[in-house]
Chain length 388, copies 2
């Protein structure tokens, strides 16, 4: 990055089931919280570009959701665009915002995401998720996303010493965190017995291995680090940014017990930030299914290949562990409004690194977010730092 960039404001709507709200309402709720989070000096007229992650709002607004939302909050006339890479849409919106500002192309960029999924009935919901898989080789062959991750989980359990209980422990941990997050869709703890005994979805994954469908929005304001003092005394610096892509279909990947695009994105983010996995204090990772969080530990270098499950078994990634992961509750408990998820992760880390995470607060000066599209067709990883 040619000039350092910082996040000086971030906000999100409640995540949940809001039949009476449109994507404009959800977007405005997140934007209002962002504005409130900026200590001083914010002028909407200074925003010179906006990038909105969104996966189509279940068909209700397939085109121009970008301008629909930004116009609604009064950001008129500026270049805005919808960015879509399935569940990594938010992460890629942030890539665009960070690169636009770091390169000097833009001075104040809004990265946002919004999704409304709860209006969809079960079958339509599966369709809207399935169409982010490879249509020819996966969706039309009957494959669902739960099915894809189940195949990855089956193979992982066969190749390693992990058991399904370790996957359930991810759900238990993330629900414990979500219970402390007033924005979370599920604000309740669950015990291991509940998680292990839930009805099967796609063997070995059960209901508590899967994240919910969610309505929600999130946004973050990116500025040059040298301008951050105009907005706050506590900016969060984005020191690493990595993005990558891969084949959509599982059979076309180099491996199915790792997400190569996430691994590549992590390498790029670490290299740019000049840090390694051991330097990360807190992380938000893409736990669309519990197996995905365990693979993330490995893809991010928190654990060796095949040994990620040990981190959850040993409590390392719990809120009181050595490296807390998904303090927000993660996709599992906070919720997963597709296009918003990658930006919602930023909101949690913005609060953690500034010490405003309340009951969820952990000690951290370096954070990381990890956002995966589909089953790994695209991925982004960011590193955030505060202090010097």
């Amino acid at each position: 990055m040619s000039r350092p960039v910082a996040i000086v404001g971030a906000g999100q709507s409640d995540y949940g089931d809001f039949p009476a709200l449109t994507i404009k309402d959800l977007f405005a709720e997140a934007y209002d919280e962002l504005v409130a989070s900026i200590d001083r000096g914010y002028d909407p007229g200074d925003v010179d570009a906006a990038y909105v992650g969104n996966l189509g709002t279940g068909g209700a607004q397939l085109g121009l959701a970008s301008a629909l939302c930004t116009d609604y909050v009064g950001l008129d006339g500026i270049p805005v665009e919808r960015v879509e890479n399935a569940c990594a849409s938010g992460g890629y919106a942030l890539v665009n915002a960070v690169e636009a500002v770091s390169s000097g192309e833009r001075d104040v960029a809004l990265a946002a995401g919004v999704e409304k999924m709860r209006d969809l009935s079960g079958d339509r919901s599966k369709y809207w998720l399935g169409v982010s898989g490879d249509t020819e080789y996966e969706r039309l062959a009957g494959m669902t996303f739960a099915g894809v991750y189940a195949i990855m989980a089956q193979r992982y359990l066969a190749e390693t010493d992990a058991a399904h209980d370790h996957l359930s422990m991810v759900a238990v941990k993330n629900h414990a965190n979500g219970a402390a997050n007033p924005h979370a869709q599920f604000q309740r703890e669950i015990d291991l017995e509940t998680a292990t005994g839930a009805p099967a979805v796609a063997d070995p994954l059960n209901l508590y291995d899967a994240c919910p469908t969610t309505d929600g929005a999130a946004c973050a304001l990116v500025v040059p680090a040298e301008e951050a003092a105009a907005y706050t005394d506590d900016p969060v610096h984005v020191t690493g940014c990595g993005a990558a892509s891969d084949a959509l279909a599982l059979h076309d990947r180099e491996t199915i017990t790792s997400v190569p695009a996430a691994r590549l994105a992590a390498e790029r983010a670490y290299e740019r930030a000049g840090i390694g996995p051991d330097d990360v204090d807190v992380a938000e990772v893409h736990d669309c299914f519990t197996i995905a969080e365990v693979l993330a530990y490995e893809d991010l270098g928190f654990a060796e290949r095949g040994r990620g499950w040990e981190l959850i078994a040993e409590g390392v990634t719990a809120r009181d562990g050595a490296r807390p992961v998904n303090t927000s509750g993660g996709l599992k408990s906070k919720g997963h409004p597709l296009g918003a998820t990658g930006i919602g992760q930023v909101v949690e880390l913005f609060e953690q690194l500034r010490g405003t995470a309340g009951e969820r607060q952990v000690e951290a000066t370096t954070g990381l977010s990890h956002n995966v599209g589909g089953s790994g067709g695209a991925a982004t990883v960011f590193v955030y730092e505060v202090g010097s």
Copy 2:
């Protein structure tokens, strides 16, 4: 732009009705033509980002169409993203590519677009177009895109001395150009009587005032101007780039006889290029309906407000006129594969400015492209120059 950028290769698929081809096939057809258009020195491994305009492929591949296509042509691992702003998706993909390279963030960027619309039946096709309007205030109230442009046309005909025949002349001109374009969907001339006497679609617009639905893809390779000599002796320099947004719903706009976002994008592109409308030799404009081309003349400054129709009446924008517009055939005759359209315009101007447009060749050293999303919720304008 901090460093000048150039296009060194561009290609497109045939535009038309291809039930046997997927978006991957169409994308590959365009990419192969791009590769063939590069004189020397192209290494796919040098491409370090790709931006793919697409509006959802009629629901067949709503997520990750970006990586699906780039992976298929062997561009593995790089950051790729789908960019969507309705019919300006291609234009915005080019904005991202141009800004990524001009800012120094990327060195070789692929701007692309792809769409498959002909699989949709009439009703589904209208749905897929309608969902780029304002869902609450237009689509659910029964408004179609033809309806929106008909309102604009009604008002324009009421406020100016233009008659519907002038709109029909746009269709006649563009069909004459499309007849000379081997990639065009409609390669046939029509006479004025055919155009004026066609069945009504939305009064005053009839069938020949409307562009078709189309399958197709297009792509362009953007590099730093200082590196262009490694690829060709005849680069096309992108000297101007402007993008803007606006309210989606017509009632929310400042005017309905102009497209304010296009006007703003044009101002920005001219300023960046340091030229004015009089310097433009040839243009590709967004004629989704004939009225849109007339409004484009005015929004781009080729004519004063209310007098754009005089250009078509006087033959100024004909292929043998003083300032040819839509030498490719435009959306009307070449076709309009939504996400590909903004990049397809580049392909025509790349050929015109390099003198390889064959039967359609005009004399030009400065070109302009104009791409509008929805009825004006987003727009992009680019200026291209060759020589010194």
